[in-house]
């Protein structure tokens, strides 16, 4: 075979292969697709063998075999991955009873569980296991031993529950880890690993969140304004095909009917005269009230944390349980009470439900954020206080050591000094602020878990029991009126999940055990909440879709990620680590570990390289470059948006033109109008509409070419235009059999001057019989 034939054959084989891979996109019957597939496969096999002859045959055959194996491997891997996803059945059951919006919460929960599992794997495998297996055991050094005066109560349940006693001096918290540079046979560098895992978990979480956001934004429909297609969308897309339960279906019918009736009424009643001033005043008042309550809650938390510091100085036995756990109690209470308060205040404002929901979410977000940061600031004060105390203790220990040495040399008159050997439990300890911070976060998480589960039990389950059983002997119908069964609060639960994750991110550096706790919590949450939803909740009455809400929640998660990263990074960079506990003890700053590693473990040239790279003279230009790149990308995206808008306007203009033409037949072209009058009268409108469609299709090359400019992002739309066109022609029922006729008038020079590009429709009114 000649070269030309070979390449042509190769092209055909490639084409057939492409056909095979796109067969599933074609809306044919399975029979037809099977036949097509078999044909294509036979062709490929026959000619691939022929192509294999000649030079390079073995390589070609090998390539072909590897491609086939790769495709099969990919498919098997995809199948395996789908099989590994847990809780599919459960979520599907929830979906069929409650619709896709409630199920989206459980999908989010499952996603969080996956991310936390990976973080747990990192922390456990790279920090906890090496220290436990290869490090020094419990009791060998002071930081790993319970101090003598605490040993009496170290096993008490109440102490353990507060994460004191044996818990405090275990691998769960920062203080347990030894600062030996390398441990064990493998010379595992634990302090370095601790730091890198801490920073790496943020990096991994960031990557995962952004990847999910990008995937979600690709799926969503692009850019049509909300009001464009309200009725058509309500009609064609409002039914949720996942519903498999007749009660839910009835609810859905009712809500669809209500929404139809409402929008019909809305359309008619667009000019509603209301008192704007009263409404504005009420809205300002509502916002003022809410700001007051936000400020109040922030102050309450600050006050409570300050009080807990004074409690910490008092003797533990004098404090009641309430006083010891005041901070967590107050924070959970606020998180429980304030959102319904906001909702009732928001009724003054009278917004449309979707806008009201956004305001509500924004306010709850502000509440949680304010609380968290107030908590952090108060904690920060505590840390500073501990650091001061540490200074005094450090001085005291150094002084005691010096005294021992001087006594020793005095008594024995020799220069060889044996170090003091004290039982680890008796050594004077510093206040180890990192472990204290870790304990606070642990306690906060535990109380958060308790509050969530208790709310579900009391708020949903007991309420459902009461409604069901008291209904028999109550004066009014409990099920239909107040209080009735609860609906599943999607936004509240999702926000709770997001903030919980924020706390985990903040606390994981100081308490490696926190991530494990969270994994357990998410696991039990899944089962518990699935059970609660199916048993105690009813489907929503009014379902309006906050449709792009997926990316909204992801955006919140991203924001929380940044906000939780800030305190951790700040402490790594500025605060000095405790002198006697944790993997960084003895160093000036925590990141000194990295500098130490570069000096001692890496080859010399890398060290000089890093010193050069860390030079401000290099970093500042790099930062400038990044800022310029951001500015450039920003302006490019603005240009794309502008191009999009232009295209959209053009389409709108075309549509309006059509409308005008249909409505008043007022052609803008005087020549055309005259010509029309000369022509025989047209029969039904549909015939000319079909003509228009087909003429617009050929002359529609212009607008679609415009949209296929290289810079235009709207390639999807451009392709759609073309595809619209071809599909319209392929519709078998539209008997568009007439070919475009001779373009008489368009040949006239006068017309081409007057009627620019896209208005080819004017020319379309040709005689065509």
């Amino acid at each position: 075979m000649s070269e030309g034939e070979m390449t042509r054959l190769k092209e055909e084989v490639e084409e057939k292969k492409k056909l095979i891979s796109t067969l599933r996109n074609k809306p044919w019957r399975m029979r037809r697709r099977l036949e097509c597939l078999k044909d294509a496969q036979q062709f490929v096999e026959k000619f691939e063998g022929a192509l294999g002859k000649g030079k390079g045959r073995k390589l070609y055959a090998f390539k072909v075999m590897m491609t086939k194996k790769w495709i099969k491997f990919n498919r098997d891997f995809e199948n395996f991955k789908t099989a590994c996803i847990p809780w599919e059945r459960k979520i599907k059951e929830v979906e069929s009873h409650f619709g896709s919006s409630v199920a989206s919460y459980f999908l989010f929960l499952r996603w969080m569980y996956g991310m936390n599992l990976v973080l747990f794997g990192f922390v456990f495998g790279l920090v906890v296991i090496p220290e436990v297996l290869m490090g020094l055991p419990y009791g060998s050094i002071p930081r790993k031993t319970v101090p003598r005066d605490e040993q009496a109560k170290a096993m008490d349940f109440s102490v353990l529950f507060e994460f004191g006693g044996y818990c405090k001096y275990s691998f769960l918290f920062y203080g347990y880890y030894n600062n030996q540079r390398t441990i064990g046979l493998l010379q595992f560098r634990l302090p370095l690993s601790y730091l890198l895992v801490g920073v790496g978990s943020f990096g991994y979480s960031l990557m995962v969140v952004i990847r999910t956001m990008a995937k979600n934004s690709n799926e969503g429909g692009d850019g049509a304004e909300e009001g464009d297609f309200t009725f058509a969308w309500k009609m064609f897309t409002s039914w949720d095909y996942l519903i498999g339960n007749s009660e839910t279906a009835d609810n859905k019918f009712a809500s669809i009917t209500t929404s139809f009736k409402e929008s019909i009424v809305d359309e008619q009643e667009n000019q509603k005269d209301e008192n704007i001033h009263l409404r504005r005043f009420l809205r300002v008042l509502a916002n003022l009230l809410i700001l007051c309550s936000l400020g109040g809650s922030g102050y309450l938390i600050y006050y409570v944390v300050k009080r807990s510091q004074t409690y910490a100085n008092m003797d533990e036995d004098e404090l009641s349980w309430f006083e010891k756990n005041e901070v967590e109690f107050v924070m959970s209470l606020l998180g429980l009470v304030c959102p319904p308060l906001f909702e009732t205040i928001a009724e003054l404002e009278e917004y449309h439900p979707r806008i009201a929901l956004k305001w509500q979410l924004g306010r709850i977000f502000a509440l949680f954020l304010g609380n968290l940061y107030t908590f952090l600031f108060a904690l920060f004060d505590e840390v500073n206080a501990k650091l001061e105390r540490e200074e005094t203790i450090k001085n005291a220990t150094i002084w005691a050591m010096k005294e021992h040495y001087s006594n020793f040399s005095e008594l024995n008159n020799s220069t060889a000094i044996t170090p003091l050997s004290i039982n680890p439990a008796d050594v004077m300890r510093g206040p180890c602020w990192e472990t204290a911070v870790g304990i606070e976060f642990m306690k906060l998480t535990v109380s958060d878990i308790q509050v969530t589960y208790l709310t579900i039990l009391f708020g949903d389950f007991l309420r459902a029991l009461a409604v069901r059983f008291l209904n028999y002997c109550w004066c009014w119908d409990l099920e239909a009126g107040f209080p009735s069964y609860a609906e599943f609060d999607i936004s509240g639960n999702v926000l709770g999940l997001i903030f919980n994750q924020g706390m985990i991110w903040m606390g994981a550096f100081y308490a490696p055990g926190l991530v494990g706790l969270n994994v357990l919590r998410l696991l039990t949450s899944m089962y518990f909440q699935c059970w609660a939803v199916m048993t105690c909740n009813v489907p929503h009455e009014r379902v309006f879709k906050a449709s792009k809400s997926n990316n909204f929640y992801m955006g919140l998660l991203l924001l929380i990620l940044f906000l939780s990263m800030l305190p951790v990074v700040y402490t790594i960079m500025t605060l000095p680590p405790s002198f006697d506990c944790g993997p960084f003890s003895g160093k000036q700053k925590m990141y000194d570990v990295i500098i130490e590693t570069i000096d001692k473990d890496l080859p010399a040239f890398l060290g000089t390289l890093f010193t050069y790279a860390a030079n401000p003279g290099l970093i500042i230009p790099a930062v400038l470059l990044m800022v310029l790149a951001i500015y450039y990308l920003n302006s490019v995206s603005k240009a794309y948006k502008h191009a999009n808008n232009e295209l959209r306007k053009k389409m709108q203009m075309q549509r309006d033109e059509e409308k005008n033409r249909r409505n008043n037949k007022d052609s803008t072209n005087q020549v055309m109008k005259d010509l029309e009058d000369l022509l025989p009268k047209k029969s039904p409108i549909s015939a000319s509409a079909k003509e228009n469609a087909e003429v617009r299709s050929e002359l529609g090359d212009k607008p679609s070419k415009v949209s296929q400019k290289p810079g235009a992002v709207a390639t999807g739309r451009g392709v759609n235009l073309q595809r619209d066109v071809s599909l319209a022609m392929a519709n078998p029922r539209m008997a568009v059999t007439r070919p475009p006729g001779p373009r008489g008038p368009s040949a006239l020079p006068g017309n081409t001057l007057q009627v620019p590009g896209g208005r080819g429709r004017g020319r379309g009114q040709n005689p065509r019989r």
Binding site: L23, R24, N25, P27, R29, M30, R31, R33, L34, L37, R75, E78, N79, S96, S100, E219, G221, F229, T230, F231, A232, W233, M235, F236, T237, S238, W239, D240, Y241, L242, I243, G244, S246, T248, A249, D250, F253, A254, T257, F260, K261, I264, S547, K548, R655, E658, R662, I685, A689, K690, N692, N720, D724, V725, L727, A728, N731, P732, R733, M734
Partner: protein, 189 residues
């Protein structure tokens, strides 16, 4: 069980994987559920056909207001009785699966909504569509005036060439901009 019809041959399985948007587990599950619906006397048939009444007992389709239309659209029987073979069933699941493209979904959605199968959605189709969506009982239905107003609004929004009907390309134009369509047009076994 134990006849050839109840086990899916391996090459056919891989071909189905190639031609649909379903994974292997989904195809096997579909096969299992389908064979449960096949009547005893048809078990030995190489490609058994299940009547529409039995398909409509599936819980996923039972509450769907468009269930009869779905069966008619995916059915390949000459007598137009809405019965499905296994391959038709796979076609159905593939079009409604999570990974199906927007084009496939909108194509089939159009055919489902086209009650009289004439290739366009005219007033009669739209009326039947609204009646399906508002339920069976009289107090949930719309009054004739409301219906007329609603259909006028819909045609004004979607009918670009003003011929009084919505054709496939106009339908796809409207649907491709909706952010909810892909996620709600889903059936999973």
């Amino acid at each position: 069980m134990g006849t050839t019809a109840s086990q899916l041959p391996k090459d056919l399985l891989s071909e189905y994987q190639e031609l649909t948007f379903l994974t292997k587990q989904e195809i096997l599950l579909a096969h299992k559920r389908f064979t449960e619906l096949v009547a005893k006397e048809d078990r030995n048939d190489p490609s058994p056909r299940v009547p529409m009444s039995k398909i409509l007992t599936l819980p996923e389709l039972k509450s769907n207001p468009f269930r009869k239309r779905i069966c008619h659209v995916f059915s390949t029987s000459e007598s137009k009785d809405g019965s499905l073979t296994f391959e038709d069933f796979l076609d159905l699941l593939s079009a409604f699966s999570d990974s199906a493209t927007l084009e496939i979904k909108s194509h089939y959605a159009f055919r489902i909504f086209d009650f009289d199968d004439d290739g366009t959605l005219d007033r009669g189709d739209l009326e039947k569509l609204v009646n399906c969506l508002t339920g069976e009982t009289d107090d949930t239905r719309l009054t004739p005036e409301e219906m007329k107003q609603l259909i006028n609004n819909i045609l004004e929004e979607s009918d670009i060439d003003k011929d009084g009907t919505v054709n496939l390309s106009e339908f796809q134009h409207v649907i491709s901009r909706s952010p909810d369509f892909v996620s709600s047009f889903k059936i999973v076994l």
